[in-house]
C-alpha cells in the first residue's frame, strides 16, 4: 500500500519535471527569437541558441537538465547569467522558514478551533466562527496583509518590511517576519478549521460514538479516546493540504512584505521572462506540493491499522 503510493509519487514528480520542461517546448516559434526580439540578427539568434543548447534535440536537453537538477545544478539565469543555484539557495531557506513559522502557529490554532466548533455546533460560537472563516477565505492575501500593516505596523508594533539579515538571531528573525507569518496563518487557519470541523462532525455521527456516550463516558473521554484516533487520517490530510496551500500563498505575501524568498524571485523572473529561473522555482514549489500530499497519504495510511495490515 505505502510502497505503491511512494511509487506513484515518484512517477508524479517525473511527470511534473517533464511538464515544466515541456511547456517551454510548446512555445510557437523559438525561445531564442522570442527573448531577443524581432530586431535580432540571424547570427545573434544562432549564437544564443548554441549558448542555450537549443540546437540539441529536446530529449537530450531534458536529460541534461534533469541530471543537473538532481545534483542541485539548475543551470544559469537567462537574465544575468548567474548560476540559479546561487540565486535560490538562501531564498529557499527563507521561504521554508516563513512557511514553517506560519504552520507552527496555524496548525494547533486551527485544530483547536475546529474541534471546539464541532463540539458546540449550531451554537452562537459555531455560527460566528462559520461567518468569520467564510469571510476570511474570501479575502485576497494582499488584503489581509495590508490590513495587518495598517493596524499592527502603523501603530509601531511590528515592521512592515520583512527584510532580514542572514546572520540575525532567531528572535530578531521571528520578530521581523511576524506580520507575513500572521498573514499566512490567517489565510490558512480558516480553511483548515472548517475542514477539521467537518471531519469531526462526520465522525461524531457514527454509532460507536453514540454507544460510548450511552455508556456514560465523559465528553472529554469520548473525544480524546474514541473520536480522535479515528479522526487522525482526515486531520492529517487537512493539515497537509493546507501546508501545500501555504506554498502558493507565500508568493503573494513575500511580494507584499518585500521578503527575500523564492516566491519573490519567481515573480521578478516572470516579468523579466527569465524562463530558466521560473522553471527552477516552479519545479521546487511543485515538488514541495507533491511531497506534502504524498506524506499526507502515507501518514494517513499508517494511522489506520486496517490499511496497514491488509488481508
Amino acid at each position: 500500500m505505502v510502497a505503491r503510493r511512494l511509487g506513484l509519487g515518484v512517477l508524479t514528480l517525473f511527470v511534473i519535471s517533464l511538464l515544466i520542461f515541456g511547456a517551454v517546448e510548446l512555445l510557437p516559434g523559438d525561445l531564442a527569437q522570442e527573448i531577443l526580439g524581432q530586431s535580432a540578427t540571424e547570427e545573434t539568434v544562432a549564437a544564443f541558441r548554441r549558448e542555450l543548447g537549443l540546437d540539441l534535440p529536446a530529449y537530450q536537453r531534458y536529460l541534461a537538465w534533469l541530471g543537473g537538477v538532481v545534483q542541485g545544478d539548475f543551470g544559469t539565469s537567462l537574465a544575468n547569467g548567474r548560476p540559479i543555484a546561487d540565486l535560490i539557495g538562501v531564498r529557499l531557506g527563507n521561504t521554508l522558514f516563513l512557511a514553517l513559522y506560519a504552520a507552527v502557529i496555524a496548525v494547533p490554532l486551527a485544530l483547536m478551533l475546529g474541534i471546539l466548533a464541532a463540539l458546540y455546533r449550531n451554537s452562537l460560537f459555531d455560527r460566528a466562527i462559520n461567518v468569520v472563516t467564510l469571510t476570511s477565505i474570501s479575502f485576497p492575501e494582499f488584503f489581509v496583509a495590508y490590513i495587518l500593516i495598517v493596524y499592527l505596523s502603523q501603530t509601531g508594533f511590528f515592521p512592515s518590511i520583512a527584510r532580514i539579515d542572514p546572520d540575525a538571531g532567531l528572535g530578531e528573525k521571528l520578530y521581523r517576519t511576524f506580520l507575513p507569518a500572521l498573514t499566512l496563518t490567517l489565510v490558512v487557519t480558516a480553511h483548515m478549521m472548517r475542514m477539521t470541523r467537518a471531519a469531526i462532525i462526520n465522525l461524531l455521527a457514527s454509532p460507536y460514538i453514540e454507544m460510548a456516550r450511552l455508556k456514560g463516558l465523559s465528553p472529554a473521554r469520548v473525544i480524546l479516546k474514541h473520536a480522535l484516533p479515528n479522526a487522525l487520517a482526515p486531520i492529517i490530510n487537512v493539515v497537509a493540504l493546507n501546508l501545500a496551500y501555504l506554498i502558493t500563498g507565500v508568493v503573494v505575501v513575500e511580494v507584499v512584505f518585500v521578503y527575500p524568498g523564492l516566491g519573490q524571485l519567481m515573480v521578478d523572473s516572470v516579468s523579466k521572462r527569465d524562463i530558466t529561473v521560473v522553471q527552477a522555482a516552479a519545479l521546487i514549489f511543485a515538488c514541495a506540493y507533491v511531497l506534502l500530499n504524498l506524506l499526507a497519504d502515507v501518514l494517513s495510511t499508517l494511522s489506520n491499522p486496517r490499511l496497514v495490515h491488509k488481508r
Partner: protein, 311 residues
C-alpha cells in the same frame, strides 16, 4: 486620514458597519420578497441574512459595472489633479499615484476586473463542464485520456503553474484569461465528471440509451438537468477562485496592464500610501474581498438548499 486610527475606534467602526449590513440585508430581503412572484417570494423570505446580503452586494456591483460611465464623475484614464490628493468633495476618494480620480477608477474597475473574471470563468466552466460530462457519458479511452491529462495538470499548484505559463507566453490580458481558464477548467472537469458519473448509472439513463437516444440528447436532456444544482454552485465558487487569481496576478503586475483601471493593480500602484497610514489603497482590495464574500454567501445558501441533507 492622518495618523493611525486608535484600535477601539476601528472596533466601533466595524460594529457599525456590521449593524448596517445586517439592516440592509434584512430590508433588501423584505423588498425582494414583496417584488417577487408568490412561489419565489417564500424562498426569498426564508433566505438567511447572509444570502440576501450577498445578493444585494452582487446587485450593486452589477449596477456599478454596467453604468460606470454614467455614474463616474471623470474619465477612466483622465488625469484630473495632483498625485495622492486627500478625500474631498470633488474627488470623493482622492486621487491615485498619477492624479487620476480614485472613485472613478474604482467604478471602472468593477467593469474591467469583474468583467474579465466573468469571461474567464465562463470559458473555464464551459470547457470543463462539457469535457467532464462527455468523459462520464462516453467513458473508455476518452475518459482515461482526459482524466489523466487533468491529473497531470492538477499536480502543479495553480498559481505556480499560471506563473510558469505566463513566462512562456508573455504577460497580457488575453494570455492571462486563457491560462487561468485552462487551469481552472481542470477543477471544473473533475467536479462535472464526478457528478455525471453518479447520474449515468441511473435507470433512466439506461432507458434513454435503450431508446437509442444520441449523445447530444443524453447530455443535454437527461444528465444536465439533474446535474444543474451542483454545477451552478460550482460556477459561483469557481468565479471566486478565478477572481482571486486574477487579482493576485494583477497585484503582482503580471495581469491587467496599465492604464486599465483594475482593482488588483490599483492596490499595487497605490501601496506606498499605506505606509503613511492612509487606507485608500485598501478600498480596491476591499472591493475584491466584499464581492468574493458575497458570492460565497449566496453559493453557501444555494448548496444548503440543493442538498437538503447537509448536516
Amino acid at each position: 486620514m492622518n495618523g493611525p486610527t486608535p484600535f477601539w475606534l476601528s472596533a466601533v467602526y466595524v460594529a457599525l458597519v456590521f449593524a448596517c449590513a445586517v439592516g440592509l440585508a434584512a430590508g433588501f430581503r423584505a423588498l425582494l420578497a414583496l417584488a417577487a412572484p408568490a412561489g419565489l417570494a417564500r424562498t426569498l423570505r426564508t433566505a438567511p441574512l447572509t444570502a440576501s446580503f450577498g445578493l444585494l452586494v452582487i446587485l450593486v456591483y452589477v449596477i456599478a459595472a454596467l453604468f460606470a460611465p454614467l455614474i463616474a464623475p471623470f474619465g477612466e484614464r483622465e488625469v484630473v489633479g495632483g498625485q495622492f490628493l486627500p478625500w474631498d468633495s470633488v474627488h470623493l476618494l482622492g486621487t491615485d499615484n498619477l492624479g487620476r480620480d480614485m472613485f472613478t477608477r474604482l467604478l471602472y474597475g468593477a467593469r474591467n476586473t469583474v468583467g474579465v473574471a466573468f469571461i474567464t470563468t465562463g470559458l473555464a466552466f464551459s470547457a470543463g463542464a462539457v469535457l467532464g460530462l462527455l468523459a462520464a457519458v462516453v467513458g473508455g479511452w476518452l475518459d482515461q485520456l482526459l482524466s489523466r491529462t487533468v491529473d497531470v495538470l492538477m499536480a502543479i499548484p495553480a498559481l505556480i503553474f499560471a506563473l510558469l505559463l505566463l513566462t512562456i507566453l508573455g504577460t497580457s490580458v488575453v494570455n492571462m484569461i486563457l491560462v487561468i481558464a485552462l487551469i481552472d477548467s481542470t477543477r471544473v472537469f473533475r467536479l462535472a465528471r464526478a457528478v455525471a458519473m453518479n447520474i449515468v448509472v441511473m435507470d433512466y439513463i439506461e432507458a434513454a440509451r435503450l431508446r437509442g437516444e444520441g449523445l447530444y440528447h443524453l447530455i443535454l436532456r437527461e444528465i444536465l438537468p439533474n446535474a444543474a444544482a451542483p454545477l451552478v454552485a460550482e460556477f459561483g465558487l469557481r468565479f471566486c477562485f478565478v477572481f482571486l487569481s486574477i487579482s493576485a496576478l494583477s497585484f503582482l503586475g503580471l495581469g491587467m496592464q496599465p492604464p486599465t483601471a483594475d482593482w488588483g493593480s490599483m492596490v499595487r500602484e497605490n501601496a506606498t500610501l499605506i505606509t503613511f497610514g492612509d487606507v485608500t489603497p485598501l478600498l480596491p482590495a476591499g472591493a475584491i474581498a466584499l464581492l468574493t464574500v458575497a458570492v460565497n454567501f449566496v453559493v453557501d445558501w444555494m448548496l444548503h438548499r440543493a442538498s437538503g441533507l447537509k448536516e
